[in-house]
């Protein structure tokens, strides 16, 4: 076997690759065909609502993967990942706002909210936002840089455990307050919305939606494989060792700071990318994405799916958010009860999540 096929078999066994292939085929062939080629009246038609919902949940799944990388494999619980997600979203949103051009309500060169605030020119941090490549650079660089700087200081002074969780929560809370302000130039309470087009394509047509969902799907599969590659490598083993016994790793001559910092920054960047994919599909980004409640929900996706297994995290994001879409439409008043109960039951009875439960059931049948 060559080195490439060795890598392949390291990531997943044959069953895993078949499942992945099937998921890819579903995303890139079945959904586009059923959404675009099958007429709306047919029973097989996938409506735009479903395409958007699937796209949205796949964004969340990427976030869950990113969270699982640091929580499941490095034992660092971040309660501020919503911040990185929102930063990526805002970077994308700035570009989409510029793409509106003169089609806003005020028909001005500036985005509507700036006209409303009576601003005459773009603030400095908006320069270059009309270039797509610049927006993409920001999507990666802003969350990455923030995470790097924050993580560098935190890990260097060995802030860990609950302390780390709480200061990440403070960080996202502070950022939310900041973005709520009108003068920071991010649209205040309302954030960015009313997007018209992306890369010249109108943003709300079925074709664009399907394309965005497919890109998100590709990104999700890519993230899964990347995550798998990381955790099965030597790097991943050191991470797991740090999670289980950081002192011993240090005494063995490794510096945990580098490992933690690397996975932490990578995780933040992945969140930023997920946010950037989320915004054009959902059509809005506002500071409430940074609220501590949103960030802590990410942790429950991972916990439900099963932390320490990448596929589990993605499945958990799908389950919880599927349930959320169902509940908030069918019984809006019970959603918080359900979510709260989920938090409690999963932590009490399902320490390894659904994946752990499945494993246990399989084990029981075998025995």
């Amino acid at each position: 076997m060559g080195p490439i096929s060795a890598t392949f078999s390291r990531l997943y066994g044959p069953t895993g690759w078949i499942v992945l292939g099937a998921a890819g085929a579903g995303l890139f062939i079945v959904i586009p065909v059923f959404a675009l080629a099958v007429p709306p009246g047919s029973a097989f038609h996938v409506s735009q609502y479903w395409v958007t919902l699937i796209g949205k949940i796949m964004c969340y799944a990427i976030v869950a993967l990113a969270m699982d990388l640091i929580w499941g494999y490095a034992g660092i619980l971040s309660l501020g990942h919503g911040l990185f997600f929102a930063l990526g979203g805002y970077a994308m949103g700035m570009h989409l706002m510029r793409q509106i051009g003169r089609e806003g309500q005020y028909q001005a060169d500036l985005p509507d909210f700036m006209v409303f605030l009576d601003w005459k020119e773009l603030p400095w941090h908006w320069s270059g936002s009309d270039q797509f490549w610049w927006a993409m650079l920001l999507v990666v660089a802003v969350p990455g840089l923030l995470a790097y700087v924050f993580g560098y200081f935190a890990f260097r002074s060995r802030v860990k455990g609950v302390y780390f969780s709480i200061i990440t929560q403070a960080l996202t809370f502070a950022a939310m307050l900041l973005f709520f302000r009108n003068e920071t130039g991010f649209g205040g309470n309302n954030g960015f919305t009313d997007f018209k087009r992306i890369l010249g394509f109108p943003i709300a047509t079925p074709e664009t939606r399907v394309a965005l969902a497919a890109i998100t799907g590709a990104m999700l599969i890519g993230t899964l494989l990347l995550g798998r590659y990381l955790v099965t490598s030597r790097f991943g083993r050191v991470l797991a060792a740090i999670r289980d016994a950081e002192q011993r790793v240090m005494f063995c001559g490794y510096n945990p700071v580098h490992y933690k910092l690397a996975v932490w920054t990578a995780s933040a960047v992945l969140c930023g990318i997920a946010g950037a994919l989320y915004v054009p599909q959902v059509g809005i980004i506002n500071p409430s994405e940074m609220s501590p409640a949103n960030s802590i929900e990410i942790a429950i996706w991972v916990a439900v799916g099963g932390r320490g297994t990448l596929a589990g995290a993605a499945v958990g994001a799908g389950l919880v958010n599927g349930a959320k879409s169902f509940f908030t439409q069918a019984f809006p008043e019970y959603w918080l009860f359900f979510l709260g109960l989920l938090f409690i039951l999963v932590t009490l009875f399902l320490p390894n999540g659904v994946v752990g439960l499945a494993d246990r059931l399989r084990g029981a049948r075998r025995a």
Binding site: V159, G161, V162, F337, G340, F343, I344, T347
Partner: protein, 535 residues
């Protein structure tokens, strides 16, 4: 016209108050009731000149439409009864042919001024104080002689300077040079913003850059007075700021104290802590409603009853949580965090289902409304003062509980070494439940206090959870003293930044400061000293 009449009256007063007559001046009272506007004004002045406190009742009745005339008799009608305006004797039965005495705006103005002046010489200190306050708001030169007259007799250390300032304010506006100079010097003692405006007006420049006030010495004096007044105003602001800071600290401390026990001592991350605060606030709301419905007379005392109720309700919820959920998660802090967050969500939704998503109204009892006025623009509200004292009380009680009681000893023992405590016979499981109940109960007390100064709604707790954790983490886990210092520091610093940068920026800066601080001292300000690598 009014001015002249007043001066006449004032001179009469200055000439010496006539010995109190058996009754009021009959002619004046009759003119007041039956005369035309001019005659009424004259009558008012005559009554003021007489200086008889009984005239106050007559003038007050005229002011609020309670004065009636029946032929030559003048009556003060209050509800169903009436008294004779002249003698004060009760009149029954009421004569049939009564007519209201009508007062137009001009007369009402004269009545108000006359009342203020009459009250200045009242025997009752509170009446005089109120009158002096009314005059300090704005008085014209007509009352100056009366104010001076009252000043001669006034000995009260609070009222006298107020009257002096009023007199000086009037004299500065008009009068000869010596008097104005003296007035500017007198105004030096003031700490009121209106005096600052007045002094600034002396220093005004016209459009061409020349001074509106030609007298240079007066300007110089005014400048010196202005500096002093401004200095005093600045002190007032600093005082207000310090008070606001301490008030915020007390709230932070109250919100964080319960957490200091559950997190600091027991190591349980209770994300539902904010919701326990919220439950305390709703318990207060329920007690308030019960009092309003069943004991409206004792409404002011509902808070006294609400304090133990809030404590017990929150403590009961907390102990139930400990038994049902948290007990199974000891030693797994991150899982505890998630589970308690879930509990918080369910509590929020539960309260929303029972009480509705809207904020509910909790009223202050009468003794907590209003405030102490230390300076003209610095008022310390009673509800904040009560909360500061309440926080101090709770702190002392908790300190004693932990230091002096058996339960406190057990809690400290379990905190320091759980296994060893269990070995010597401490029922650790029960101690956990009690300690958690105590922390939750204190959160309930915080809710009770917060209901007095802010909105009570299902999301109340969410606003405090981040802050409370910051206080505990900054203070150092396991350290009550650290929590106190952290709350004080955060509250005062927050208000300081707020005064020059606004509330939101202050909050952000404080959060960023804590994030940076934790990097420097990961164990908080007051870390427990230990020798383990995992310090």
């Amino acid at each position: 016209m009014r001015a002249r009449v007043f001066l006449v009256a004032a001179c009469a007063l200055l000439a010496g108050v006539p010995p109190p007559a058996a009754a009021l001046d009959r002619a004046a009272v009759e003119k007041l009731a039956t005369g035309d506007s001019e005659e009424k004004l004259e009558a008012i002045n005559a009554l003021v000149a007489e200086g008889d406190p009984r005239a106050i009742a007559v003038l007050e009745a005229l002011g609020d439409g309670g004065l009636q005339a029946a032929g030559k008799r003048v009556l003060i009608v209050k509800g169903d009864g009436a008294t004779d305006a002249l003698t004060g004797a009760p009149v029954a039965p009421l004569p049939a042919d009564r007519e209201d005495v009508v007062a137009n705006n001009r007369i009402r103005g004269a009545v108000a001024a006359a009342l203020a002046v009459l009250k200045l010489v009242s025997q009752d200190r509170d009446t005089r104080l109120a009158a002096a306050r009314a005059l300090a708001g704005g008085a014209d030169e007509t009352v100056l002689p009366l104010v001076r007259k009252a000043l001669d007799k006034e000995t009260d250390p609070v009222i006298k300077p107020m009257l002096e300032l009023t007199a000086a304010t009037i004299e500065l506006k008009g009068g000869d040079r010596e008097r104005r100079l003296a007035a500017v010097r007198t105004l030096r003692q003031s700490a009121s913003p209106s005096v600052k405006t007045l002094l600034l007006s002396v220093l005004d420049r016209g459009k061409d850059g020349s001074f509106a006030e030609p007298d240079e010495e007066l300007r110089r004096e005014a400048q010196a007075s202005l500096r002093e007044v401004e200095g005093r105003l600045a002190w007032g602001q600093r005082l207000g700021l310090a008070f606001a800071g301490i008030s915020l600290s007390s709230i932070l401390l109250l919100a964080a104290l319960g957490l200091a026990i559950t997190y600091g001592l027991m190591g349980v991350i209770n994300m539902a802590h904010g919701e326990l605060i919220m439950i305390g606030a709703y318990a207060t709301y329920v007690v308030q409603n019960l009092f309003r419905a069943h004991a409206p007379g004792a409404f002011d005392w509902y808070l006294v009853c609400a304090v133990p109720v809030a404590f017990l309700v929150a403590a009961a919820v907390g102990m139930a949580l400990e038994r049902l959920v948290i007990r199974w998660l000891y030693g797994r802090p991150l899982e505890t965090l998630l589970a308690t967050w879930g509990i918080g969500l369910m509590l929020i939704q539960g309260v929303r289902t029972v009480f509705g998503a809207q904020n509910v109204g909790v009223e202050n009892p009468a003794f907590m409304s209003g405030g102490i006025e230390v300076m003209p623009d610095v008022v310390l509200p009673w509800n904040r003062i009560v909360i500061i004292l309440f926080t101090a009380g709770v702190l002392v009680a908790m300190g004693l509980l932990l230091a002096k009681t058996r339960l406190g000893l057990f809690v400290r023992g379990v905190t320091q070494n759980r296994a060893m405590a269990a070995c010597v016979g401490v029922p650790t499981a029960r101690v956990d439940t009690w300690a958690f109940g105590l922390g939750a109960g204190i959160a309930g007390l915080a809710g009770c206090a917060l209901s007095q100064i802010g909105n009570v709604g299902p999301d109340l707790g969410q606003a405090y959870i981040v802050d409370s954790f910051m206080v505990v983490v900054l203070g150092g886990v396991g350290q009550l003293a650290g929590t106190v210092y952290a709350a004080l520091g955060l509250g005062v610093v927050n208000k300081l930044i707020e005064s020059w940068q606004g509330a939101v920026i202050a909050k952000i800066l404080v959060l960023v400061f804590i994030v940076v601080f934790i990097q420097k001292r990961p164990q908080g300000m007051f870390a427990l000293k230990g020798r383990a690598v995992e310090a």
